[in-house]
């Protein structure tokens, strides 16, 4: 555990959580930092939708195989178990987890992961979602890392309730659905920008996020305006976010079928 990076992360997260911040942008920062801090290969945040689904609200990567793994957990997997039990769920070695999760375990291994963990997003007695962490190599999760991961999951929970405080379950449900719809708007905008500039989805997301920050706009407001046509983003080019996010502009496009 890198102590300096840890404290920097929490300073960054609390700095970001100011009036008018964008919760989806914030949750993406949180999944990115989870990967850096916790020695894992991928991270995602899943929220429990009252419709009866677990829905991905942020992920450290848009790789189709990773999104598929989150999706699968509507039926089985550590996030579903974690959500039901309200407790952390881990598998140190997915090769030995075939009985526990007959579909999820082989799919996760095929995607290149050997260990997985889910940490609950808890609000008093209620579990509203989970932070899902994947690691390429097998072995137990370091207890210090687990504590930091749980703290990150707690911060994610707080951020969802930030805007109007949490007094009623009504408020939580309003915020949750609003966040889920924002996420859809951002996905639609990513698609539009990716098509226009021939980018992959990660690159399109970086570019939108960079532009929102440099213009001091909420990411979801920018995404909505871009789709409505009131924001044209004509000045944006594929390399525009390179300074802030090295690598985002490199030729990283997935070949078809990748």
């Amino acid at each position: 555990m890198d102590g300096e990076l840890l404290s920097e992360t929490f300073v960054e997260l609390t700095d970001t959580m100011v009036a008018g911040f964008d919760v989806i942008d914030f949750l993406h920062v949180l999944t990115d930092r989870s990967v850096q801090l916790l020695d894992v290969s991928a991270a995602g945040l899943l929220l429990a939708d009252p419709r009866g689904e677990l829905r991905v609200v942020a992920a450290s990567s848009q790789a189709a195989r990773l999104l598929e793994l989150f999706q699968l957990q509507n039926d089985q997997g550590p996030c579903l178990d974690c959500f039901r039990a309200g407790q952390p769920v881990a598998a140190d070695d997915l090769a030995a987890a075939g009985h526990r999760w007959p579909r999820f375990a082989p799919a996760a291994r095929q995607a290149g992961f050997a260990a997985v963990q889910a940490l609950p997003m808890r609000l008093r007695e209620q579990v509203i979602g989970a932070l899902n962490l994947f690691r390429a190599g097998p072995g137990p999760f370091d207890p210090a890392d687990v504590r930091v991961g749980q703290a990150l999951a707690d911060v994610a929970t707080i951020s969802l309730l930030h805007e109007r405080g949490m007094r009623r379950s009504d408020t939580l449900n309003e915020q949750l659905q609003s966040a889920l719809n924002s996420r859809v708007v951002i996905e639609q905008a990513k698609g539009k920008l990716a098509e226009r500039l021939s980018l992959d989805m990660d690159q399109a997301f970086s570019l939108l996020r960079h532009h929102a920050r440099s213009c001091n706009l909420r990411l979801s407001d920018l995404a909505q305006a871009f789709i409505d046509g009131s924001e044209t983003l004509t000045g944006l080019t594929a390399g525009a976010s390179q300074q802030r996010t090295p690598g985002a502009g490199q030729a990283r496009q997935q070949p078809p079928g990748g």
Partner: protein
């Protein structure tokens, strides 16, 4: 987690349509929600491009009054729901919080006979189809299961409103038997991303792009999520002319 819920509730919507002997429409989703969610009444208004929308269905006189009050007063949960993209759940209009939120609307709604009001924006991301409102004569929150059901009815109303708009512009109806669109029980990022990509490929707005995506899946008997995945992976492009037969492999 509970895969049968959308199927069960779409069945209630279809039964509502059958009961009145008509084609399944968003108004049926609104009417079916009343008994299934356990509220006193409901209203549904369709978006009309930036305006206040037009009232499509009310299940009783109080619902009509609630919808019209918000238009007259220029405040209320429908407007708030449109602004945030999330529902507005006011389980006690007599509470100080509601009174503070809507100075004019809260007392007027109470006077009209509503003690709790729950408004759901009919949206898929940036696509705006309208608003569905539910009210109760007595105060009290929706239970988690009632909220889940209300959200599924709102999803149904959204899709049915979008279908009705497509039919008005001459596109084929993308719904399957009983009006239930295939493959929408689970939300998938690829569907949203593909919809965004299609706005560029087709040079259309987001709602038309989504209609094309659904009708392509329906006409070719494919799952929506599979079509979306092919578009996102750039294995499939759709062409601008809806009658073009050359949609296909990129």
């Amino acid at each position: 987690m509970t895969g049968s819920r959308p199927g069960r509730l779409w069945g209630l919507v279809a039964a509502q349509a059958a009961g009145r002997g008509g084609r399944v429409s968003a108004a049926d989703a609104c009417a079916a929600a009343v008994a299934a969610v356990g509220v006193t009444g409901a209203w549904l208004s369709a978006a009309d491009g930036g305006g206040a929308g037009h009232l499509m269905r009310v299940t009783d006189a109080v619902s009509e009054q609630l919808a019209e009050l918000q238009l007259a007063l220029g405040e209320g949960p429908s407007l708030d729901a449109s602004a945030t993209g999330g529902p507005v759940l006011a389980s006690d209009l007599g509470a100080a919080e509601a009174a503070g939120r809507w100075l004019a609307f809260a007392p007027a709604a109470l006077q009209a006979g509503a003690a709790a009001i729950f408004v759901f924006p009919l949206r898929i991301g940036a696509i705006r189809a309208g608003v569905m409102g539910l009210y109760r004569a007595g105060a009290g929150p929706l239970s988690p299961s009632q909220l889940g059901d209300a959200l599924v009815f709102a999803d149904a109303a959204t899709l049915l409103l979008l279908d009705a708009q497509d039919q008005a512009t001459g596109s084929p109806a993308p719904s399957g038997p009983g009006g239930q669109p295939a493959g929408l029980a689970l939300h998938r990022a690829e569907i949203d991303q593909a919809t965004g990509m299609l706005t560029e490929q087709l040079g259309t707005g987001i709602a038309d792009a989504f209609a094309r995506l659904r009708s392509y899946a329906y006409v070719n008997d494919l799952r929506l999520s599979d079509v979306a995945r092919d578009i996102v992976a750039r294995r499939l492009r759709l062409l601008r002319d809806p009658d073009a037969s050359r949609d296909g492999e990129a």
